[in-house]
């Protein structure tokens, strides 16, 4: 499926969840009008979306946290899967946009592309549930159940490779963080 299809499906079920996006999911989440005061773009630190999302989940246990992660970035901080399990956040929903490539730098394949399985990695780490989708209709059908499940949950989203220049959000992370703090304090 296309990234934007998966993004729209997530936007339709978000229902006020806190969100963190990274790399090429940032611009798409902004396009879907989801970059509100409950959202942060993880900028300039590949692999950090999972950790940032975990911090939010621990800070706000009564709110769901959706992490829009990338396969290339998550490989850079793969141990964060273990750290998530150690912290055991029931409100943590980890979506991995998997196109098997580092899209932003020119679609170079990630190491061992096609040899490993994100769902198996997550389950071996101790995630409570993991599933994968490559068709948007199947994803849409599953999302309500997935987000109602006790986390941590990992969902692998098989997305098509995209060509063209990388797109980056204009919002500053520092401003987003302060806006989120203020919104959560209300």
């Amino acid at each position: 499926m296309q990234r934007i299809e998966a993004i729209k499906a997530l936007a339709d079920v978000r229902k006020g969840a806190l969100s963190v996006a990274i790399m090429q999911s940032c611009a798409a989440w902004h396009d879907a009008e989801q970059a509100d005061e409950f959202h942060v773009d993880a900028q300039a630190c590949m692999g950090s979306a999972c950790a940032i999302g975990l911090g939010l989940a621990l800070a706000q246990p009564s709110r769901k946290v959706i992490v829009l992660d990338g396969d290339g970035g998550l490989l850079m901080q793969l141990g964060s899967l273990i750290t998530v399990v150690a912290a055991a956040p029931a409100n943590f929903y980890h979506f991995v946009f998997d196109n098997g490539a580092h899209q932003s730098s020119g679609n170079q394949p990630v190491p061992a592309v096609g040899e490993f399985d994100w769902c198996q990695l997550a389950l071996s780490a101790g995630y409570r549930y993991a599933d994968g989708f490559s068709e948007v209709d199947e994803l849409r059908s599953a999302l309500p159940h997935l987000l109602a499940s006790r986390g941590p949950v990992l969902v692998r989203l098989g997305i098509d490779r995209e060509d063209g220049p990388a797109r980056w959000p204009k919002a500053k992370m520092a401003d987003q963080i302060q806006a989120m703090k203020a919104a959560l304090a209300r």
């Binding site: 630190c45 999972c50 950790a51 999302g53 150690a86």
Partner: protein, 168 residues
């Protein structure tokens, strides 16, 4: 100048004064006794993570969620997470209080006189990045933890307490 051990209880008292909610650590040999003391407390919550990069990221998330975290790491671990400190504290303007243990320091000498790069390059590295630091060289310095906390929150950025000798 020699560094002296600081009792963990003194540091725990300072951590409580700062109302720290979460301590994120990749365990540091130098601060072993402090980590042991924290492990027996319910608050602040002690969370052991896999890498210092993660610790810096989780710090951001906790801060954005209106919690009050800090890090306990080692000098080598600080070097390992510099990119995360750059992006997720300096650029993102997020307070990041770090207790950094001087692993492998000969405590009978000043850090700058230690031959090991891990020891003598810490202060130059902090200075290069414009990160304020405070030295914990003995029990009389314990109050610097709260000073570093105030600096991190005042600047909305990183601040380091360099733990010169193993805590006791």
């Amino acid at each position: 100048m020699a560094a002296q051990s600081v009792p963990a209880d003194l540091l725990l008292e300072q951590i409580r004064k700062c109302s720290i909610t979460h301590v994120l650590t990749v365990p540091d040999t130098v601060q072993k006794s402090l980590l042991a003391a924290l492990a027996h407390q319910e608050t602040p919550r002690l969370l052991t993570v896999c890498t210092e990069d993660e610790a810096v990221g989780i710090n951001l998330g906790l801060y954005a969620g209106n919690q009050n975290p800090m890090l306990i790491i080692q000098n080598n671990g600080f070097y390992a997470c510099l990119n995360a400190v750059k992006s997720l504290s300096l650029d993102a303007r997020v307070p990041l209080l770090m207790l950094i243990g001087e692993f492998a320091r000969d405590v009978s000498k000043a850090s700058s006189e230690n031959a090991l790069r891990a020891v003598h390059l810490l202060v130059p590295t902090l200075e290069t990045w414009g990160i304020p630091y405070f030295r914990l060289e003995g029990p009389d310095d314990a109050g610097c933890l709260c000073e570093a906390y105030e600096r991190a929150h005042g600047d909305r950025g990183p601040a380091a307490v360099i733990v010169g000798a193993p805590t006791c």
